[in-house]
Structure formats: C-alpha cells, structure tokens
Subunit: 210 residues, 2 copies
C-alpha cells in the first residue's frame, strides 16, 4: 500500500521534542532547535505534525501520556489512601527539584502561562489534565476515608480541588528554584488537617464520635 514508510518512530521524536519544549517553553523554541534535538529534517517534521503548533500539541499530549497519566493512575488506584497522596507529592517534588529535569517544572503547568493556552486544542489538554488529576486525588481521598485515615469533617471534593490546585503551585515554584523542603512543607500543611486524629482509646475500629 505504501511505497515507503517513515524512517523514524514518531513517539521517540515526540520524546525529543518534549524535552525541548518542556525546558524552554513553546514560544522560545525554534524549529532549528527541534530539528537538532530530533535529528530529522524540517520536511519530515512538517509532513508529520503539520506545523509548530501541531508539533507542540502532539508533544504536550505525549508528555501527559508519558508523565502525568501513569502518576495519576497510580494515585487513583493505590489502596493506601493518604499514603498514596504523600507518595505522589514526594515523587513530584523529587523529580522537580533533583535529577535530570530539575528546574524544568511541569510541561502542562508551564503551558498554562504561555500564549499557547489560548489555543482551543491546548486548552482541552489542560482541562482534561486538571480533571484527571483532581479525580485521581478524589479517588485516593475516597480510599483514605474507607481506611479511616480522614477526619470526619473532610469534604472529599473540596480537598481534591485543594490538592490538585496546590500541585500546580508546587510545579510552578519548583521552576523558579524553590527548595524541596519548602515545597514539602506546603504539601504537609495541606495534608495534616485532613488526617483523622489518632483515637485516644486503643480501639482501632471506628472514628470516635464528634
């Protein structure tokens, strides 16, 4: 059917593009930088992704698929409740503040701040990302409630909204070089008031009334 097939793997190319867009942002990234990073030519880039906006949208989708979705799925499915939320933020802060992508922030978070956030295709990705994060948080909180980890007064939806919104703040501040300890303090401060106070009596069966 096709006399010739692509000589490259689009997903690998997208991973290269992600790294450039992630670090530099969309408007500050030129086509030449993408050509150099991906190793293929302008023609192939344009034939595959249309134009720069299309390549950016594809790269952002790839980022979400590779980085966000697995973390959200783990958070959502974990049976450990509050511990899973702690692990989520611990891993997040670890990645943001040390290792090969330290100081890059989160590509989705960064995308909010640029002019690309006005593009409807991008905005759809941002909104879906936010909703997925928030519902993963809500799911973990629901698990935590079942485990008796939460204070009775906690509103699951409101708490999920807080934690999801807080995550953007953590990502953002990490890009300006905020210390990991500072970010951890903010996360801890948000989690502490959710936690059920340890029962004064050693009967671990139910939350004490009132």
């Amino acid at each position: 059917m096709s006399p010739d097939i692509k000589h490259f793997n689009p997903d690998v190319v997208l991973d290269d593009a992600v790294r450039v867009f992630w670090r530099q942002g969309m408007p500050a990234t030129g086509i030449q930088a993408l050509v150099s990073a991906t190793g293929l030519s302008r023609s192939s880039l344009y034939a595959t992704f249309g134009n720069k906006d299309g390549l950016y949208a594809a790269a952002l989708g790839r980022y979400i698929e590779q980085h966000s979705t697995p973390a959200f799925a783990a958070l959502s499915a974990a049976p450990t409740g509050l511990t899973a939320i702690e692990d989520f933020f611990t891993g997040l802060i670890g990645v943001r503040c040390s290792g090969p992508v330290a100081g890059w922030g989160c590509m989705v978070t960064n995308a909010h701040a640029g002019p690309e956030s006005a593009d409807p295709a991008i905005r759809e990705l941002l909104d879906a990302h936010h909703q997925t994060l928030q519902s993963a948080m809500r799911s973990a909180l629901h698990t935590a409630a079942g485990l008796g980890q939460l204070a009775a007064s906690v509103d699951l939806d409101a708490a999920a909204a807080v934690l999801a919104t807080l995550a953007y703040g953590v990502n953002l501040r990490s890009r300006a070089g905020a210390a990991a300890d500072t970010l951890r303090e903010a996360v801890a401060g948000a989690l502490v008031p959710l936690r059920a106070h340890p029962a004064p009596a050693p009967t671990p069966q139910e939350v004490p009334p009132q």
Copy 2:
C-alpha cells in the same frame, strides 16, 4: 544640568509594557508590540531600559509594585484575620476571571513558567514576591489566631505556605479559563479545615478543650 529631559513618564510607559508582557508573555512579545503599546520609539525604549530583558524586568517590578504589593499589604495589615484571607482570594479570583484582565493570570505567576525565570534578576523578583505573599498570609493567620478563628492545631507557617502556594495554582488555572466557582471551591476547601469549630456552648471566650 540636562539640556533636555525625557518627554514621557517611565512609569506610564511601564504600565503599558506590563499589559503587553502580562497578556502575551515575554518571549512572544516583540519590540514592535512594545513600541506600539507605549507610543514611543525604539531609541527611547533602549535608552531608558537597556534592552528587552531590562524592560521586562522593569515591567515585572512595576507589576509587583502596582498589583501585588498593595494586595499583600492589605492582607498583612487587616485586623479581620480569616476574613481578610477570604477577601484576598475573592478579589483575586474576581480579577482573574472577569473584567479587563480576565484570562491573563498573574504576571508573576506567568513569569515562573517561561525561560525568563532562569535570569537571576527575575528570579530575585519571583522569590521576593513569594516570600512577601507567604509572610502576609502568615500575618493574617496570626491575626486570625488572636481572634480565636483558628483551630488550635493549626501550624501558622505551614498554613501560610499552603495558601501562598495555592494562590499560584489559582492564578495559573484562571489563565486556562477555569471557572471562578471551581477556583473558589479550592480556596474554600483550604480554609475550612483551618477554622475553629463553633463553640457548642454560647460562651465565646475560649476554644473548647480537645
């Protein structure tokens, strides 16, 4: 001393530049757009601010001085405690989601995401902004504690870190068109657990023990 003085007011010019940088971001804004917005020529811009980076830094400083500092000062000095924090976020969300700058987010928040955040001069502004916000939050929480508005278990520093970090998330999500109600829910979810439970007995003098 000077055979000719500037024919313009630098602060007014900066206000014009702020509007352009704020909405479009630094890398997506060209000199031509700044010339058009300010009404003065390239020569005068370069003579006054050095180059584009200098103009951006000056504009960011002007934004902080004009928008952030007054809000932070009001938050810090208000005698109303938790109410002042609520007012801060209510005003914030109102400005972000409706009116002439709706959908622009916060220029300082936006600055975190771009490559400009790597510039040491910019990073200094970002760090100072964050510290000022956080200490204003901490001050308002201290006032709230004095008014008996806070649950006894609340750690003022941790709560201030949460609220300051959350503000960045609110600013960011507003730029992607998040609904005001959604943002208000996140803020409310962060404030509710801080609040002292109303005393069951009508003696408003002290928080009930335990």
